[in-house]
């Protein structure tokens, strides 16, 4: 049943700009570095002995912002497809479980973000090679910097999906999204337990994997809570 729902949901996001947005996120993040290195490459190369590491750090400083903003926009779009003509009532009157419906929406969003992460990895590597940052390419670091923020932001995705599917007023999820964006922007000053800090991969222990594990764990938890709440509610 879930494959059918998924294939139906992928059809519904056609012509809505989801894939374009999923492309623009990682492209924008790397494009900022293109500008940065284009303007002052010599200065930036002087800053550190580890040119690749310094470059990845620069890329990573914008990834969480793009990710959090992307999640807010994508989830809100996703809910608006069903909210626009109140298609929830049509969808849920079909022989499907509400859990299946929710899982399918979450999976589509996770796929889009995963697609973005893959693009981020490709773009980061490609521009790094163009910059000629040294012969030893830190492939493992590139993979980590591309996928860790995504995994660490799963709780934000689960929360935003929950808020946007149960809100009649789409202003609420957008407000949550903007607040999240501001929190992510000030990640450096936040305590470790705030979920919006996690995509930055910063923590007191200086251990990025900790954020990934927390992200997956808390993400699952928030997902289950949101799904149960969604199942419990009457469809208007």
């Amino acid at each position: 049943m879930i494959e059918n729902l998924l294939s139906s949901d992928f059809l519904k996001i056609k012509r809505k700009g989801f894939w374009l947005l999923a492309f623009l996120g990682p492209f924008g993040v790397v494009a900022l570095q293109m500008v940065n290195y284009g303007v002052r490459k010599d200065y930036l190369l002087q800053q550190s002995n580890d040119d690749w590491g310094y470059y990845l750090g620069n890329v990573q400083s914008f990834t969480p912002l793009a990710l959090v903003l992307g999640i807010a926009i994508l989830t809100s779009f996703m809910a608006s497809i069903e909210n626009e003509t109140n298609a929830w009532k049509q969808l849920i009157a079909l022989p499907v479980t509400k859990m299946g419906v929710y899982l399918s929406k979450f999976t589509v969003l996770a796929c889009l973000l995963l697609f973005s992460s893959i693009l981020l990895m490709v773009f980061t590597l490609a521009f790094g090679l163009v910059l000629d940052l040294g012969s030893v390419v830190p492939y493992l670091d590139i993979v980590q910097y591309s996928f860790y923020p995504f995994l660490a932001s799963l709780p934000i995705l689960a929360l935003q999906l929950w808020v946007s599917t149960v809100s009649q007023n789409q202003g609420i999820p957008i407000t949550v999204g903007i607040l999240g964006f501001i929190l992510t922007y000030s990640a450096f000053f936040l305590p470790d337990w705030v979920i919006w800090k996690w995509p930055s991969l910063m923590n007191d222990a200086n251990e990025p994997v900790q954020n990934v594990l927390l992200g997956v764990g808390v993400g699952c938890l928030l997902y289950v809570v949101g799904m149960i709440d969604f199942t419990r509610r009457d469809v208007k």
Binding site: N4, L5, S7, S8, L11, K12, K14, R15, K16, I81, E84, T85, N86, A87, W88, K89, Q90, L91, I92, A93, L94, P95, V96, T97, D234, V235
Partner: protein, 303 residues
């Protein structure tokens, strides 16, 4: 009798407000059940409960002799529905809209062309639904509800927003469904004339209570008939009829007689003619179903 839909003591509360109260709805196989009531009477709430979109506060709902709360998925495989305003995805074409439903229902692709043909939207199959008129969207909704050849079709106000020719088309379509495809149809409306022309059984709901549930013939029998006479001197005529032992009623310039048997009417005409009065018109008057409906809902409000 085999009931497709059977609700027992179903109530639904929203906070303190009671939307539906102790509903006992029974729909037999092959019927077109007209579900009638003024706006806000609880029709849509009832339909949402039948589709499992809302859970009743108390009572049980059985469809196809299975409990809805336990076998929702199995039951919904056999139910097609259109609830209130049509739902659609405006950025997709008519074909893609149905494809999105078809993928979930798992019926063959050729069904899409078939149902588009039934509601006569084949020509615009590849146009975006955004630009459709309300009537076309409504027809697309009906097409979607027919996709999996359901045994029970639930249509909530399906003729809303349709033009007269569209209404006739949909009405003719609905009438053929039970005989051609063995479907049972539940159709709700606030217009009695609509139901009158399609339904075999009628349920009337007002303020959340089912106040009438029987065949359409029974409802029609409520329409008391009377014979109205228009004569030259109505007051005099009335007095003559009364003194001759008729139960007559003077209404403005007309005289009404309740007993409509042929002999009674003939006798009354005879009496009037013999008295030298000119009889202009002798007409049969039927209370319209509309009036009965209003009367029933009013009585309920007063009580």
């Amino acid at each position: 009798m085999e009931y497709i839909v059977e609700t027992r003591n179903v109530s639904k509360k929203f906070g303190k407000e009671i939307a539906v109260k102790n509903l006992e709805m029974k729909i037999a196989k092959g019927e077109i059940y007209g579900f009638l009531g003024p706006n806000g009477a609880g029709k849509t709430t009832t339909i949402r409960m039948l589709l499992g979109l809302m859970k009743p506060t108390s009572g049980t709902i059985q469809l196809f002799n299975q409990d809805l709360a336990q076998n929702r998925i199995e039951i919904l495989k056999k139910v097609g529905s259109l609830v209130e305003n049509p739902s659609y995805y405006p950025h997709l074409t008519a074909y893609e809209n149905l494809e999105a439903l078809r993928k979930i229902l798992g019926v063959p692709k050729k069904r899409i062309d078939e149902v588009l043909e039934i509601v006569r939207l084949s020509d615009v199959a590849n146009k975006k639904v955004k630009g459709f008129s309300l009537g076309m969207k409504q027809r697309l909704g009906i097409a979607g509800s027919l996709l999996h050849n359901p045994e029970l079709l639930i249509l909530d106000e399906p003729t809303n927003g349709l033009d007269p020719s569209g209404i006739i088309e949909i009405r003719e379509l609905i009438k053929t469904l039970p005989s051609q495809y063995g479907m049972t149809v539940l159709i709700s409306s606030h217009l009695l004339s609509e139901i009158d022309q399609m339904a075999t059984t009628v349920g009337i709901v007002t303020k959340g209570k089912l106040i009438f549930q029987d065949s359409i013939e029974t409802l029609r029998r409520y329409a008391n008939q009377s014979i109205s006479f228009t004569v030259s001197e109505s007051k005099k005529a009335w007095q003559i009829l009364i003194s001759s032992g008729f139960q007559a009623e003077l209404q403005q310039k007309r005289i009404l007689i309740q007993d409509c048997s042929d002999s009674n009417v003939a006798e009354a005409v005879g009496v009037l003619v013999q008295a030298g009065l000119a009889v202009y018109r002798v007409e049969e008057e039927k209370k319209s179903l509309e009036e009965i409906f209003l009367q029933m809902t009013k009585e309920e409000n007063a009580g």
